[in-house]
């Protein structure tokens, strides 16, 4: 969930709504005049607020602006989990960010602590998606920034999203090939929950791991759609049970209800279990 880095009230209690990760923003939601103040606020928020198990992300300003490097310094020293790099177009930019992060981490004695998420917001970025996704071992996910991408594409966003189809599929394919997360763009019209729901259904279908949001009211719908149904969970549990049984017997063949289970089925079952646990509808003890 995006939270403007210049709003202490929202920063202090964003986690109560239960997003998986909070993205404090130093880039587009902060005006030029407030960049320094917001950086200080975000630094202090990361250091002093107990966000519990929520993953903390900060979207920094691009490194080629006067603010980017200062942002890296401020958030890495404060112990941020992930830096979101905006408007990423090439693998070289990722390497440059990694070097900046490493400089600070070396000084602090915590090399490797900070992860990177790259936001791809241009046609050039989409063309380079796989290179970006594999540019650093710190890369945990790539995300689509649809507004800038559409401007670059010389079109505009529609409620049905055909214009984003190639970009979305490219991001998912690149992320899967690189073994990292694929994250979808924001949906800004808070009065149109119907279209938002359709969009979430679409991106889940395309294979995304999650979606950026701008308001806590959007969380429930995402959780609802991404949370596996009880039927899916029961089936996945049965498959995992069959695996255990086969292992116990020392059998190489896994069967459930007389049918053989292929590897892709096992992988899907594992993912269903992971999703159910992270959505809180299943605990490890239930397995």
């Amino acid at each position: 969930m995006f939270v403007p880095g210049n709003n202490p009230g929202m920063m202090s209690d964003a986690f109560i709504y239960g997003p998986d990760s909070i993205m404090l923003d130093l880039e587009d939601s902060v005006t030029m005049a407030e960049k320094d103040a917001a950086r200080l606020l975000v630094h202090n928020a990361l250091k002093s607020i107990n966000y519990g198990n929520t993953e903390m992300v900060v979207r920094i300003n691009p490194l080629n602006t006067p603010f980017g490097k200062k942002d890296v310094e401020a958030v890495v020293t404060a112990g941020v989990h992930v830096i979101r790099m905006p408007k990423t177009e090439t693998a070289e930019e990722v390497v440059e960010l990694e070097e900046e992060i490493e400089k600070v981490e070396k000084r602090l004695g915590c090399v490797g602590r900070t992860q990177i998420m790259a936001a791809i917001e241009s046609t050039k970025g989409i063309i380079n998606a796989y290179a970006i996704a594999t540019a650093s071992k710190r890369m945990m996910g790539i995300a689509l920034g649809a507004e800038d991408y559409c401007a670059n594409l010389k079109t505009q966003r529609t409620t049905t999203g055909e214009e984003l189809l190639l970009a979305r599929e490219t991001i998912v394919v690149a992320a899967r090939a690189a073994g990292i997360d694929a994250l979808d763009t924001v949906f800004s019209n808070l009065n149109d929950m119907e279209t938002f729901r359709k969009e979430v259904e679409l991106i889940k279908h395309l294979g995304f791991d999650g979606k950026s949001i701008i308001n806590p009211r959007q969380i429930e719908i995402i959780n609802e759609i991404f949370t596996p149904t009880q039927k899916d969970i029961d089936k996945a549990k049965a498959i995992m049970g069959a695996i255990k049984e086969a292992e116990a017997k020392g059998s190489g063949v896994i069967a459930l209800n007389g049918k053989m289970i292929d590897k892709p089925v096992v992988i899907r079952a594992q993912r269903t279990i992971e999703l159910a646990i992270s959505a809180g509808v299943l605990t490890k003890e239930d397995l």
Binding site: G9, S12, D13, I16, Y17, I49, N50, L190, N215, P216, R217
Partner: protein, 512 residues
């Protein structure tokens, strides 16, 4: 002939025995006036000034008002202006509550027209001035149930009640709604005015819609009314609340509402035939929406909803999810219209609503109440009257009445309002004793009164985030730091009466 004489003698003898006069035909008045004309000549129908004079009101006496028009009330200012003009001094004003709109009372207090006040709450500039020590005598604060009891048992004696009504006939049959085409104002239930009508020495109805006799069904009967005054306007209905159901879009309110609904559903009291009351805050209104879904899913119906009735409650009633509505105060136009049209939507007096003395008052049969708070302390005491800045900014309402009598009382409040913590070490002013408060719902977690371990157990079992109330307080302090102590003076500006007539707390003047 003898027989006739004997009979007259016998009548005379019996009359003597009964200590009565013998009937005299010249005392029988036959009035052939067309009756529609006759009722317009009702001796009760007078001007405001005549009503005041005829009522026998004198300096030092007590006058009373209701607050069913809330921020749109025009009666208090109109009557007190007239009393000032007529030269009255040293009057006690006994209102069911006072609002921002009653700011003109400041001048009347300064001029000695009003020298004491009793009310459920104070807001706006009047509250600011009184908090700073405007009045010599402290304001007496009572809950709605407490006020009803005090009027009934004589603790609060009303000499003249001035009751604004949306309609009245010339004899004083009055209601908070009107069936005529000329209806100007509508407030729904007149519940808080009913004890005044019943117990005041003299009762004056003010109405902006004088309708033909009989104005039935009515809230107030002509038997309790001495004078009827027709005025331009008694109140602005639009300021009760808007007509449509508005869902809050504030994510924090939605979060609190969902949590409160989960508490209710898992409390052990969510059963077929349960009863419920909700306060007027955004979160508790929204809670109704989420409870509704659980009622449908689990096929559970409520026997009645009580209180401040809102459009939300009317909707659930009309959907068949709530059998009866018991309404002491209508919170919006939808509720006000429903009480006029629906016989299962019943108006009750403050005493029938929440009096501690009346075994039949509705709060005694209330399972669940959701309430708000300005502050809750670690002993679960609640303050809804005085802000964390020491200035009076709220109303007791039915808070302590419903919390005490219900089987389960739930307080919904954010842990922090901006930089102000709502869970504190000690409440600024004690309004509802912690013993009657069961659950506190905040966005950071749910605290359950240690007196109710069984509720805590049920909520934990349902996977809700049950936390220690001290942890909530610490959590708030960690974010905002320890607030500086308030600069109170030594003058008592308010006395908080418990609903049983005992003194619960005092409010001191603030030097800020």
């Amino acid at each position: 002939m003898n027989a006739t004489k004997d009979r007259q003698d016998l009548i005379l003898a019996e009359a003597k025995k009964l200590n009565k006069e013998v009937f005299d035909e010249k005392n029988l008045v036959k009035n052939p006036t067309e009756k529609q004309q006759f009722q317009k000549e009702s001796p009760k129908l007078v001007t405001l000034e005549e009503a005041i004079r005829k009522s026998g009101l004198k300096d030092g006496m007590t006058i009373s008002f209701h607050h069913h028009f809330r921020g749109g009330d025009k009666v208090v200012n109109m009557v007190v202006d007239k009393l000032a003009e007529m030269g009255f001094k040293n009057l006690s004003l006994a209102a069911s509550s006072l609002q921002d709109v009653h700011e003109p009372l400041i001048e009347h207090i300064k001029n000695g027209v009003i020298t004491s006040i009793s009310t459920s709450g104070l807001r706006g500039k009047l509250a600011d001035e009184i908090s700073r020590g405007l009045m010599e005598k402290p304001v007496i604060f009572r809950s709605h149930g407490g006020r009803g009891s005090a009027i009934a048992n004589g603790d609060l004696h009303i000499d003249v009640a001035f009751i604004g009504a949306s309609s009245s006939d010339p004899l004083g049959n009055a209601c908070g709604y009107s069936r005529s085409e000329n209806a100007k104002s509508i407030c729904g239930s007149l519940g808080y005015a009913l004890p005044d009508a019943q117990y005041a020495d003299k009762v004056v109805i003010l109405t902006d819609d004088l309708v033909a006799y009989p104005n039935t069904p009515n809230s107030i009967s002509e038997h309790n009314v001495d004078y009827v005054v027709e005025v331009d306007s008694v109140g602005d209905s639009s300021k009760i609340a808007s007509g449509a159901i508005r869902d809050t879009k504030n994510p924090r309110d939605i979060l609190l509402a969902k949590q409160a609904a989960k508490v209710i559903v898992n409390s052990g009291y969510f059963k077929e035939g349960f009863s419920i009351q909700t306060g007027s805050g955004g979160a508790s209104l929204a809670a109704v929406k989420y409870i509704r879904q659980s009622m449908i899913d689990q096929n559970i119906h409520a026997s009645f909803a009580l209180g401040g009735i809102t459009a939300h409650m009317v909707k659930l009633h009309e959907e068949g999810l709530i059998d009866r509505l018991i309404d002491v105060q209508s919170f919006d136009r939808v509720a006000a219209e429903s009480i006029m049209n629906d016989p299962k939507h019943k108006e009750v007096s403050a005493n029938e609503y929440a009096s501690a003395d009346e075994p039949g008052s509705a709060t005694h049969y209330l399972d669940i109440v959701i309430l708000s708070a300005l502050e809750v302390d670690t002993d679960f005491n609640v303050n809804v009257l005085v802000g964390s800045d020491g200035i009076i900014r709220g109303a007791i309402g039915g808070h302590p009445d419903t919390a005490a009598d219900s089987a389960l009382s739930i307080i919904v409040c954010p842990l922090l309002r901006g930089r102000i913590p709502c869970v504190v070490d000690k409440v600024t002013t004690l309004i509802t004793p912690g013993k009657s408060v069961d659950v506190v719902v905040t966005e950071y977690g749910i605290a359950v009164n240690p007196n109710r371990p069984e509720i805590a157990e049920r909520l934990k079992k349902a996977g809700l985030n049950v936390v220690d109330i001290n942890w909530l307080k610490e959590r708030a302090l960690k974010v905002i730091g320890t607030p500086a102590p308030l600069p109170f003076g030594d003058k008592v500006v308010g006395v908080v009466m418990n609903r049983d007539g005992s003194v619960l707390d005092v409010i001191k003047n603030i030097n800020a």
